[in-house]
C-alpha cells in the first residue's frame, strides 16, 4: 500500500480536530490533568486544585452509602393505599415477567408497619424510624422517583458509584478528584470510611479509579490501626529520626535532580515532603478525642470505636480540612426479614439500625450548617436500589417482616451544596411499584451531581482503549428541579 495514502486514510476527522487545537471535549484538560498518562514526566502534581467547567454549587461531597439498601417505603415514601391492602395478593401486573432476588409466585402486599407524619415547614412525609431526621426535614431533598437497572447488590452498587454495573470503571469520587483535584495536599483527596465490619458489595471497585490514574482512587481511612495504610512510621523510628532521614533523602535526590534534570525527581522530592506532612495530619484529623463532649454526644460518637456515628463525625472533620470527596459505607441495610436484625417489624431491626444512622446524619447536617460548610458540601444518602412493596417470598410464613430488592422505584436523599431543601421530587404510584411522576434514573442523578460540582457530565471524560469514558456512560440528564 502507498504509505502516503495510508497516512491520509488514517488521518480521520478526529485527528484533524485534535491537531488543529480545537480539541474534542476536554482533550486539552485531560492532557493537563494526567501529565504522566503518556510519558515520562510528571511535571505537575495531579492533585492540584482545578476549576471545573462552570461555577460550582458544591465544592466537596459527603456520600453516605447505606449498603444493602434501606426499605424506603418504611422511611421516606408514604403509601397509605398500600397499607390498606396489606396481605392482599400482589396484582399480577406488578410481578409478571419480572425477576426478583428471592421472591417468586404471588407475594402479599405489605404496607409499612411504621407510623408516618409530616415534618418541617415543607410538611415532608417521614416515618417514625428516623426521628432525628425529622428535625432537618427542611434541609433535605428527597427523590421518590429513582429507578435503576440492577436488582442485585454488587452490580447495583457499582452502577450507582461508577455508572456501570460491572467492575472496572472509575467511581464518582475518582471522577470528582480527577476533575477538581484536592484543596488539601496533606490529606488524601478522596477518603473512604467503612463501618459495621464489612466492605461495600463491590469491594474496592466501588471506590476505585478504574482505568484513570490510581492517584484518584479512594483511600480508606480507619479509626483503628494505621489510619491510612503505611502512614505510621515503623517500630523503632521516631519522628525526629524520620525527619533526619528524609532530610538526607532530599539532599541525595537533589543531587540526582541536578544530574539528570528530570522533572519527576523534583516531583518525587515534593511527594516525600507531602508524605511526611500526611503522617502528622492524617492521625490528627482521624482523632476525634479533641471534639467537645456535646459534639460527640450529638453524633453518638465514641472515641476509639469504629461506627457509622464516628465516621459521620470524621466526615465533618475531613470536610473542614477541605478533603474533596468523603465516602462512607455502612453495612447492614439489607432488610429481607430473614433475621431479627434485618426485619422491619415494630421493634425489629429497622428501628435499631436507623438509630445508628439518623442521629449522626442529623448531627452532621446541623454541624456542617453551624460551621458554614453546609452550603458548599453536597450530601448524598441512599442505597443501591429500593425494596419491594410486597413481603419477601422466603420469609412470608414467618413472624419477621422483610422486603426484597427492588430497582423500579426507590428513594435517594440529597442535602447541602446547591440542592433544594425541604423538597420532594417525583412520586411513585399509589402502591409504590412504579414511578408515577418525574422519573430520575441513576445516570440522571449522577449528571446532576456533576452539574452541582461545576461539570458538564458529558465533557468530563477520560480516554481509555480508544474511547472517551465518563461517569454517565452515554446517558444522563441533569434534573434541574433538584437544584436550588
Amino acid at each position: 500500500m502507498n504509505p502516503l495514502l495510508e497516512k491520509i486514510q488514517l488521518n480521520t476527522r478526529r485527528h484533524f480536530l485534535q491537531n488543529c487545537g480545537v480539541g474534542l471535549g476536554m482533550g486539552a484538560l485531560a492532557q493537563l490533568m494526567s501529565p504522566d498518562a503518556f510519558g515520562l514526566s510528571a511535571p505537575q502534581n495531579p492533585l492540584l486544585p482545578r476549576a471545573p467547567h462552570f461555577a460550582p454549587k458544591a465544592k466537596r461531597v459527603i456520600y453516605l452509602h447505606l449498603t444493602g439498601s434501606p426499605p424506603h417505603l418504611d422511611m421516606w415514601d408514604y403509601k397509605p393505599e398500600l397499607g390498606k391492602r396489606t396481605d392482599q395478593d400482589c396484582p399480577d401486573e406488578f410481578v409478571k415477567g419480572k425477576k426478583f432476588a428471592f421472591t417468586s409466585g404471588t407475594p402479599k402486599l405489605m404496607g409499612s408497619p411504621r407510623k408516618f407524619a409530616q415534618y418541617g415547614k415543607s410538611g415532608m412525609w417521614m416515618s417514625d424510624a428516623i426521628p432525628h431526621l425529622h428535625e432537618v426535614a427542611d434541609d433535605l431533598c428527597v427523590i421518590n422517583s429513582m429507578h435503576t437497572t440492577q436488582f442485585n447488590h454488587a452490580p447495583a452498587e457499582l452502577f450507582v458509584h461508577t455508572g456501570f454495573q460491572q467492575p472496572g470503571r472509575p467511581s464518582f469520587g475518582a471522577w470528582t478528584t480527577y476533575g477538581l483535584g484536592s484543596e488539601n495536599q496533606d490529606l488524601p483527596g478522596y477518603v473512604v470510611l467503612i463501618s459495621s465490619g464489612t466492605q461495600p458489595n463491590g469491594g474496592k471497585n466501588s471506590y476505585s479509579a478504574g482505568f484513570i490514574p490510581s492517584v484518584y482512587q479512594g483511600v480508606q481511612c480507619r479509626s483503628k490501626g494505621d489510619p491510612v495504610l503505611y502512614v505510621s512510621d515503623p517500630p523503632g523510628m521516631t519522628r525526629g529520626l524520620r525527619r533526619s532521614s528524609l532530610d538526607a533523602l532530599r539532599d541525595l535526590n537533589n543531587q540526582a535532580a541536578q544530574k539528570f534534570a528530570h522533572p519527576e525527581t523534583l516531583t518525587r522530592i515534593a511527594q516525600y515532603e507531602l508524605a511526611y506532612r500526611m503522617q502528622a495530619s492524617v492521625p490528627e484529623v482521624m482523632d476525634i478525642k479533641k471534639e467537645s463532649k456535646a459534639t460527640l454526644e450529638s453524633y453518638g460518637a465514641v472515641p476509639g470505636e469504629s461506627s457509622f456515628a464516628n465516621n459521620c463525625l470524621l466526615a465533618r472533620r475531613l470536610a473542614e480540612k477541605d478533603v474533596r470527596f468523603i465516602q462512607l459505607f455502612d453495612w447492614g441495610w439489607d432488610f429481607h426479614g430473614t433475621r431479627e436484625d434485618t426485619s422491619i417489624n415494630k421493634s425489629g431491626g429497622l428501628v435499631k439500625k436507623c438509630a445508628t444512622m439518623d442521629k449522626p446524619v442529623a448531627a452532621l447536617i446541623k454541624d456542617l450548617k453551624q460551621r458554614g460548610l453546609f452550603d458548599d458540601t453536597l450530601i448524598i444518602i441512599g442505597g443501591e436500589f429500593g425494596r419491594t412493596p410486597f413481603r419477601e417470598g422466603r420469609t412470608s410464613k414467618g413472624q419477621l417482616l422483610g422486603r426484597d430488592h427492588y430497582p423500579d422505584c426507590f428513594t435517594m436523599i440529597m442535602a447541602g451544596g446547591g440542592v433544594k431543601g425541604g423538597h420532594v421530587h417525583g412520586a411513585s404510584d399509589e402502591l409504590g411499584f412504579n414511578v408515577a411522576k418525574d422519573p430520575v434514573h441513576v445516570h440522571d442523578l449522577q449528571a446532576t451531581w456533576m452539574h452541582l460540582l461545576g461539570f458538564d457530565h458529558e465533557q468530563l471524560t477520560y480516554r481509555f482503549q480508544g474511547r472517551d469514558y465518563r461517569l454517565t456512560d452515554v446517558h444522563g440528564h441533569v434534573v434541574k428541579d433538584l437544584i436550588a
Binding site: 497516512k7 488514517l10 488521518n11 478526529r14 498518562a37 503518556f38 510519558g39 515520562l40 514526566s41 511535571p43 495531579p46 467492575p167 472496572g168 488524601p188 467503612i194 465490619g197 464489612t198 466492605q199 461495600p200 458489595n201 463491590g202 469491594g203 474496592k204 471497585n205 476505585s208 478504574g210 482505568f211 490514574p213 490510581s214 492517584v215 483511600v219 490501626g225 494505621d226 495504610l229 503505611y230 502512614v231 515503623p234 517500630p235 523503632g236 523510628m237 529520626l241 533526619s244 532521614s245 533523602l249 539532599d251 543531587q255 544530574k259 539528570f260 534534570a261 528530570h262 522533572p263 519527576e264 511527594q271 516525600y272 507531602l274 508524605a275 503522617q279 453495612w331 482503549q465 480508544g466
Partner: protein, 532 residues
C-alpha cells in the same frame, strides 16, 4: 491345627510373605500366567481376565457372539514349572455358554505361538486383492501390536515409554482442550438480552473487516486465527508487538496508545521505524530476547537521559527521542527490586500464588469471608510480585498504590503516577522495612568502617559507586541516627529486628539500626525508582 489343636501343617518362611499368598497344604504351587491370547473374545470378558487372579462371575474369558464355533486360547506361563503333576481346574459359570468339546495341549516351547483371532483368520482366507482397506488395517494392527516379528521393537518402545514415565513433570500447567465438534454447546443470540428468548444460532467467527481471508473459512477455529495473526501479509501483529516491547523499554510506544491501533488511537511518531522494527521481529522469528537486545543496544536507548530545559520545553515526553528514556519501575518491579538488593528475593518459579505480608483490615468482603490473609511462610514470603495472590475486589494494597491495575478490565498500558502514598509504602510498609533490615545486615559484613559499609550498600542498590558528596551525606545520616540509637538500644532493637527477626549474635544494635535507616533511604532514592 485341627479341632484338638494338634498341629497338622507347618511351614517356616525365610522371608516375610507378600501381602497375599496362597499356600496349599500338600505343597503344590499355583502356576502363574504371563500372557493369554484367544481366537475370540467377548467385550469386557477378554481372555486376560481368565488369568488376572480374580475369582467370580465378573472376571473370566467369555465368547458371547461366537457360540457354536471352535475357539482356543493359549496361556503362557510366567515362570517354568519345576515338573511333576499338573492339575487343571475348569470353572464354567454360564451354562448357556458351556464348552461342548474340550481339549488340552501342553508345550514346552520357549515362545509358543499366539492365538490367532477368528476374525483375522477369516481375513487371511480371502485373496489379498479382495481384502477391504479396513481388513488390511486390522491385519496391520495385529502385525504391529502382536506379531512376533515386531516383538523386539515393541519391547524397546515399552522400555523407552517406561523411561519417559519415570521423568516426573517439574510443573503442572493447566491445559485448554478443545471440545470435540459433536459435544460443543450451541450459542444463540439472546433477543433483547434476555437469556430466555433464544434467537438464531451463532458460531465462532472473526470480524471480516480485519481478516478478509478468514471470511472464506466456514467456521474459523483458533488455529486459523493464530495463522492469520502471524501470516506474512498481516502487518498489524508485528507492529503492535514491536510497539509494546518498545513501550516497555522506552516508557512510551512509538504509537502512544499501545492498546489501540485503530482510528481512535494515535498515529505513530516514527512510522518508518515502527515498520522496520515490525519486519525485524518477524525476521528474528519472533525471538523476544533478541528483539529486546536490539532495542537496548541501540544508540537511541543508550543516549544520556539528561534533560536540558530546552528539551523539556520542546519535548517534555521525549517523543522525539533526543535523550535516553528515564521512567519509574512498575509496581511489581519496585517491590521485587527492593527484595532483590536486600538479598531476600526468592527465584522460585511456578506454583500457586503466595501471600506476602499485607496489613490486616479487620473487614469482611460483602457476602464473603474476611479479606485479611495469613502471610506465607518461608521463601514464599519473598517470591516475585507476579506470584502475589490477587483478589480483584481487594488488590494487594502496596502494588495498587504503584499503579498496578486491579485487573477488572484488560490494561495493555499502565499509567505512572507519583504520589505521597507511594512514598509511605516504600518508607513504612513492613515489606520494605524488612528489606532495609536485610540490606543493613549485608552491609555490616561487607566493610569495616561505616563509610565502607554504606558505599557497598549504595553499590548494591544502584550498581554504581556513590560520589563523594553522596557518601558523605549517607555517613552524616548514619552518624546522626547512630548516636540517637546508642542512647536507646530498645529503640535500636526494634528498628533493626522488627519484622525480620533477631539480630545476629554479638551484633551492635545501634550500628544495625543506623544501617537500617540508611538502607531505608537508599531503597527510597529517586534513582532506585527510576530506570534509565
Amino acid at each position: 491345627m485341627d479341632e484338638e489343636r494338634v498341629i497338622l501343617w507347618e511351614k517356616t518362611y525365610e522371608k516375610a510373605p507378600q501381602r497375599e499368598a496362597i499356600e496349599s497344604l500338600d505343597g503344590a504351587t499355583t502356576a502363574r500366567f504371563a500372557r493369554a491370547t484367544a481366537s475370540y473374545e467377548q467385550n469386557n470378558f477378554t481372555v486376560d481376565e481368565a488369568i488376572d487372579g480374580k475369582q467370580g462371575q465378573e472376571s473370566g474369558w467369555a465368547i458371547a457372539g461366537g457360540q457354536g464355533r471352535n475357539h482356543y486360547a493359549i496361556f503362557e506361563l510366567k515362570d517354568p514349572l519345576p515338573g511333576g503333576v499338573l492339575n487343571f481346574r475348569l470353572v464354567q459359570n454360564y451354562p448357556n455358554h458351556a464348552i461342548g468339546k474340550f481339549r488340552l495341549s501342553v508345550t514346552n516351547a520357549k515362545n509358543p505361538a499366539l492365538a490367532f483371532s477368528q476374525s483375522l483368520t477369516s481375513i487371511l482366507d480371502k485373496p489379498t486383492e479382495k481384502r477391504s482397506p479396513q481388513e488390511q488395517k486390522q491385519l496391520l494392527d495385529y502385525f504391529v501390536k502382536q506379531g512376533p516379528a515386531t516383538q523386539r521393537i515393541r519391547e524397546q518402545v515399552a522400555s523407552l515409554r517406561n523411561q519417559l514415565n519415570q521423568i516426573k513433570p517439574s510443573a503442572t500447567v493447566p491445559m485448554l482442550k478443545e471440545v470435540v465438534e459433536a459435544n460443543r454447546r450451541e450459542s444463540f443470540i439472546h433477543l433483547r438480552g434476555s437469556y430466555l428468548s433464544k434467537g438464531p444460532i451463532v458460531r465462532a467467527g472473526f470480524p471480516s473487516a480485519l481478516a478478509p481471508k478468514l471470511k472464506n473459512i466456514d467456521t474459523p477455529n483458533r488455529l486459523d486465527l493464530a495463522k492469520w495473526l502471524i501470516q506474512d501479509d498481516n502487518p498489524l501483529t508485528p507492529r503492535v508487538t514491536a510497539n509494546r516491547f518498545w513501550e516497555k523499554i522506552f516508557g512510551i510506544g512509538l504509537v502512544a496508545t499501545s492498546e489501540e491501533f485503530g482510528a481512535q488511537g494515535e498515529l505513530p511518531s516514527h512510522p518508518k521505524l515502527l515498520d522496520w522494527l515490525a519486519t525485524e521481529i518477524v525476521a528474528m522469528d519472533w525471538d523476544v530476547k533478541a528483539f529486546l537486545k536490539l532495542l537496548v543496544t541501540s544508540d537511541t536507548y543508550r543516549q544520556n537521559s539528561h534533560v536540558t530545559d530546552e528539551m523539556a520545553a520542546m519535548d517534555p515526553n521525549n517523543r522525539l527521542l533526543a535523550r535516553g528514556p528515564r521512567l519509574r519501575l512498575s509496581a511489581e518491579m519496585v517491590r521485587d527490586q527492593a527484595l532483590a538488593v536486600a538479598g531476600l528475593l526468592s527465584s522460585k518459579m511456578y506454583g500457586h500464588p503466595v501471600k506476602p505480608p499485607q496489613p490486616n483490615m479487620g473487614l469482611k468482603a460483602a457476602f464473603g469471608s474476611g479479606i485479611d490473609w495469613k502471610t506465607s511462610k518461608g521463601e514464599d514470603r519473598y517470591r516475585r510480585g507476579i506470584y502475589t495472590t490477587w483478589r480483584r475486589s481487594n488488590p494487594y494494597p502496596s502494588m495498587a498504590t504503584f499503579d498496578a491495575p486491579n485487573r477488572e478490565v484488560c490494561s495493555v498500558r499502565r499509567d505512572r503516577t507519583n504520589t505521597p502514598l507511594q512514598a509511605l509504602v516504600t518508607l513504612n510498609d513492613p515489606v520494605y522495612v524488612e528489606a532495609a533490615q536485610s540490606l543493613a545486615r549485608a552491609m555490616k559484613t561487607r566493610g569495616n568502617s561505616p563509610a565502607e559499609q554504606l558505599e557497598k550498600g549504595f553499590e548494591i542498590c544502584l550498581s554504581r559507586n556513590p560520589s563523594k558528596e553522596e557518601l558523605d551525606r549517607l555517613v552524616a545520616l548514619y552518624e546522626e541516627v547512630r548516636s540517637d540509637y546508642s542512647k536507646d538500644l530498645e529503640l535500636a532493637r526494634k528498628m533493626a529486628t522488627d519484622p525480620i527477626g533477631p539480630a545476629p549474635k554479638d551484633s551492635n544494635l545501634a550500628d544495625l539500626a543506623a544501617l537500617t535507616v540508611a538502607g531505608n533511604i537508599m531503597l527510597n532514592l529517586d534513582e532506585m525508582m527510576m530506570k534509565r
